[in-house]
Amino acid sequence: MSAPVPIRIVVPQQLRTLADVSGEVVVAVAAPVTVAAVIDALEVAHPALAGTIRDRDTGRRRAMIRVYADGEDYSDTWTDAELPDAVTDGREPLRLVGAIAGG
């Protein structure tokens, strides 16, 4: 098992306020680096975010959250797909995006 690598995360503004952080959040994640593994690490580092990105019971993504990495949509491949090199080598952040709804 390789050493954890730092993963940059862009978190929606409302969750940055909730977690009392500014700018990008960085967490260390060991391979395989999937969305689920990044969220696991994010919730450990910032417990206030537990339940806000994925359902506590089912672990499923909350309906109005989308996830993008290096321009690709990873919203429905949380556990299967490893994140691209651009994210694991720190050139790009993982982007958690709240859906635009309500005008």
Binding site: L18, A48, A50
Partner: protein
């Protein structure tokens, strides 16, 4: 009594309004949790500086916030509201069966003697409790697993447990109200529950006087006379003289008996307040006039209270948790509107004035009378 602190939940955050005993000059702070729906903010009777807030939205779900300094600073605490065991299913609007699904906390009630103990009424309807200041929450599953629960159906706002009414003298006794199931009562601290809807009649139901299914909007009672319980139902203002075992209508001369909220004067158990709303189709007051109605006779005979309230072109609503009373002398009465106004009457309803006029849609108003 040094003053009052009014805790206002709105569709876009919470606000704290404070004043001294005169209640004519106000400090307004907020928004707290800006951009989020705050269904309810509640204070601890045992420690007035301990506050809890229910913060939620459709994107990120439920957050519970706690303050230990009267609302100056807050920290998120536990938000894990997991139903006990298999949550089962209830009816949807169209009669189909849908799984129980936690959506939000509608109402928080802090224990009178323990600031760490709080009850939470939630949607889909269930009752949760924390004994560690909100860090962890456990369901009291006997309510949601009542034999009638699979027949409960949501009101327009969802299948919500919105009212928690503990007996002031008997910690094992409590009423709750659910839209649209009705009133349920426990006499054993929440282990077992029984419907308490005898005497209610709801014409929208296939069986208008069925044991459950009534859209009860709010309950209130005076602590000195706990067997007398007042109810604003979807339609009809009701009263029980036996702790909820049976109910009779007290709408009397109200211009309409539809409404959402009801409360009792802090010092006069027979003085009751409602805000009549035109109908379930028209969620605004009759004739464009915002009138609080007061009965000094425990119902049936009502008088309009209008001094200081808008009496033309007013089409706001007052939601079920948006009326409260303080314990000052004279008793203050507070209402919050869907138009963002919070009004106070510092003299039991005779005269009203706005504290603030332009908040977001007010969802709830609570008042702390400070020592």
């Amino acid at each position: 009594m040094s003053g009052v602190r009014v805790l206002v939940g709105t569709s876009k955050g919470a606000f704290v309004l404070t004043s001294d005993g005169h209640r004519d000059s106000w400090d307004v702070s907020g928004p707290l949790f800006g951009g989020w729906e705050v269904y309810h903010v509640a204070g601890s009777p045992a420690d007035p500086d301990r506050l809890y807030a229910s913060q939620s939205n459709g994107w990120f779900g439920q957050i519970i916030q706690r303050s230990d300094d009267g609302g100056t600073t807050w920290e998120p605490v536990g938000n894990d509201f997991t139903y006990e065991g298999d949550p089962g299913s209830h009816q949807f609007y169209d009669g189909s069966s849908v799984p129980w699904n936690f959506t939000r906390v509608w109402h928080l009630l802090s224990s009178v003697d323990d600031p760490d103990m709080v009850l939470a009424g939630v949607e889909d309807a269930a009752l949760f409790r924390t004994t560690d200041g909100g860090q962890s929450w456990s369901e009291l599953p006997g309510l949601r697993t009542h034999a009638s629960a699979s027949s409960w159906a949501p009101g327009a706002g969802g299948l919500c447990l919105h009212t928690i009414l503990p007996h002031p003298d008997d910690p094992a006794s409590m009423l709750v109200a659910i839209s649209a199931a009705g009133v349920l009562a426990t006499e054993d601290g929440g282990t077992t529950w029984q419907p308490a809807n005898t005497g209610l009649r709801s014409e929208f139901m296939p069986e208008p006087d069925a044991e459950v299914g009534h859209c009860v909007h709010k309950l209130a009672r005076h602590p000195a006379r706990p067997d007398v319980v007042f109810m604003q139902k979807h339609w009809d203002v009701m009263r029980s003289d036996d702790g909820g075992v049976s109910w009779r209508e007290i709408s009397g001369n109200l211009p309409t008996d539809f409404g959402f909220t009801i409360d009792v004067h802090a010092h006069e158990p027979d003085t009751v307040y409602v805000v009549p709303i035109t109908s379930d189709e028209h969620h605004y007051p009759p004739d464009g006039r915002l009138r609080v109605y007061r009965s000094r006779t425990g119902g049936d005979e009502w008088e309009p209270l209008t001094d200081g309230l808008p009496q033309s072109n007013c089409y706001v609503n007052v939601l079920r948790d948006a009326m409260a009373v303080d314990a000052m002398d004279p008793c203050g009465v507070y209402i919050g509107t869907t138009g963002g106004q919070v009004y106070i009457s510092p003299d039991g309803g005779d005269h009203w004035a706005p504290i603030v006029r332009d908040l977001p849609r007010v969802l709830s108003v609570e008042v702390q009378t400070l020592p």
